[in-house]
Symmetry: C2
Subunit: 335 residues, 2 copies
Amino acid sequence: MPELRKDPIVGRWVIIASERARRPIDFQVDRDPPRAGMCPFCPGQEDKTPHEVLAYRPPDGPSSRRDTPGWSLRVIPNKFPALMIEGDLDRAGEGVYDRMNGVGAHEVLVETPDHTRNFSTLSEPEIEGVLSAYRDRIVDLKRDMRFKYVMIFKNHGAAAGASLEHTHSQLIALPVVPKNVTEEMSGALDYYKYKERCVFCDIVRQELRERSRLVYENADFVVIEPYAPKFPFETWVLPRRHRSAYEDASREEFATLANAMRVALRKLHLALDNPPYNFILHTSPFDQRENPHYHWHIEIMPTLGKVAGFEWGSGFYINPTPPEEAARFLREIAE
Amino acid sequence: MPELRKDPIVGRWVIIASERARRPIDFQVDRDPPRAGMCPFCPGQEDKTPHEVLAYRPPDGPSSRRDTPGWSLRVIPNKFPALMIEGDLDRAGEGVYDRMNGVGAHEVLVETPDHTRNFSTLSEPEIEGVLSAYRDRIVDLKRDMRFKYVMIFKNHGAAAGASLEHTHSQLIALPVVPKNVTEEMSGALDYYKYKERCVFCDIVRQELRERSRLVYENADFVVIEPYAPKFPFETWVLPRRHRSAYEDASREEFATLANAMRVALRKLHLALDNPPYNFILHTSPFDQRENPHYHWHIEIMPTLGKVAGFEWGSGFYINPTPPEEAARFLREIAE
């Protein structure tokens, strides 16, 4: 059973995933990823993965049986999960330290049956399917009272931490609200208490007025380079309308979000020659209802540099590309 | 002039180092580092760097002139600094955002004239020289009233962000206390308020008693794998005696710290086959006097895996190597 351990100074939780335990020698091996057809995420390889928890199958498709080909999107438990779905939390102390069992869900969302495509070349209806699957899994996992948050993210490219090429997203449901989420929520609440406005709504308004950091906009979403980006070409996708929880977005908004995500990722793909990147869904914890201070959004971070000692020590980031320049460059890219 | 910009939600400062501005194409070039003799940190190349701010020259050495060979350690301003030493802070708002001028010091400490050596093969007197230079620079920079903190760190290996091979450390003096330092200080203060004991002193006591995460100890220092490490083989070096500021360590402690650092880095070097790593000095901000809750120390982080979407989004870390296993492995390595 993996273990959650808490740093006694800053309160950061760490997952000690001992089922994946690695001795020093294991860190030196870079295995080649499996090819199309042999890949466990490809159609026909469904027996190489745990049983699917969700799949979208076109009604007119060749098959509708669980764990067989014919799906357009498939969600499966991670075969090497960082957390285990079964068990109780069993919080306990060990002297000055705190620990609990590593209970949680860790799932993989295979975004397309086609091994050779990537997120930025999916069609908007396909991307909308992926975004709807995120919502469906949040709604389902919210029912498990042990969980307080679900983190949804995508790693694209080996340098961004993707271990398999076949395009996929991941979700991890957690028994504690992660530190970064708590910080973002409380920062947004502090701003709200002082200004009586949502900080994200203020950002959307200012970026639409100034336009120097605006990359793209459609009816429901804006794509911007944030004012204080940690990394070159960091890109945020924000809904114009204030809403705290991703799963409460309307059906129409999933279509326009698919458009905004496709344009943003396509521009980054073309501008930076298929860069490795991470994107992360930022949404409210399960125990927070719709509130006036927090505003869900998606942050995309291309992996162009190295995180080094200064960043680790300070939490400061040194960014050589002003967001105004990155935005101008991305605006000029025809996708 | 570089600019400091603040994220309006979480309050993180970012350095927009536009003097180092890079267009997309620049991220795709990996240049070969210069070789011994051609390297700007080698003796005889002193004219390739800005004027030295500190150098140690053996009294019986061949030369004692500034910016000429004969030094055993040399501190120079970074040729491509993230922050500029001249100027006023000029704090200002831009709508919802906050900025100030990128004023600070950014220096490089060349640890030895020998291009081919690395920190873990330096002798203990040589390492003691490096550690004393850290103190000398802190004491000097503390006099500049614009600065609130000096971050001292080392990047070893390209994957850990080192752009030149010749072994060196860096320091960045900052006009604001970085977020990570504030968090560590206030976490330690919370613990102190509740327990009336220093959390780091409690950690040292527990690790010396349990010994499962202890790697090495000498008269003044303990080397441990922390209970909740972010990364495999993360290693901390802590003074046994409570003291808040690094620069207040006694002369004897610099000798025993040199011993602890050499042993820790040598064991990591041998265990992990010269891994890339960062180490970071954690010490009190300039405006904090000696206090009962904060305890300076050094954190060493080998760069063995990738930081991916989950870590970026949550601030959680997934670590496949329990610290008890890493410690057992390191204890058994003969350095």
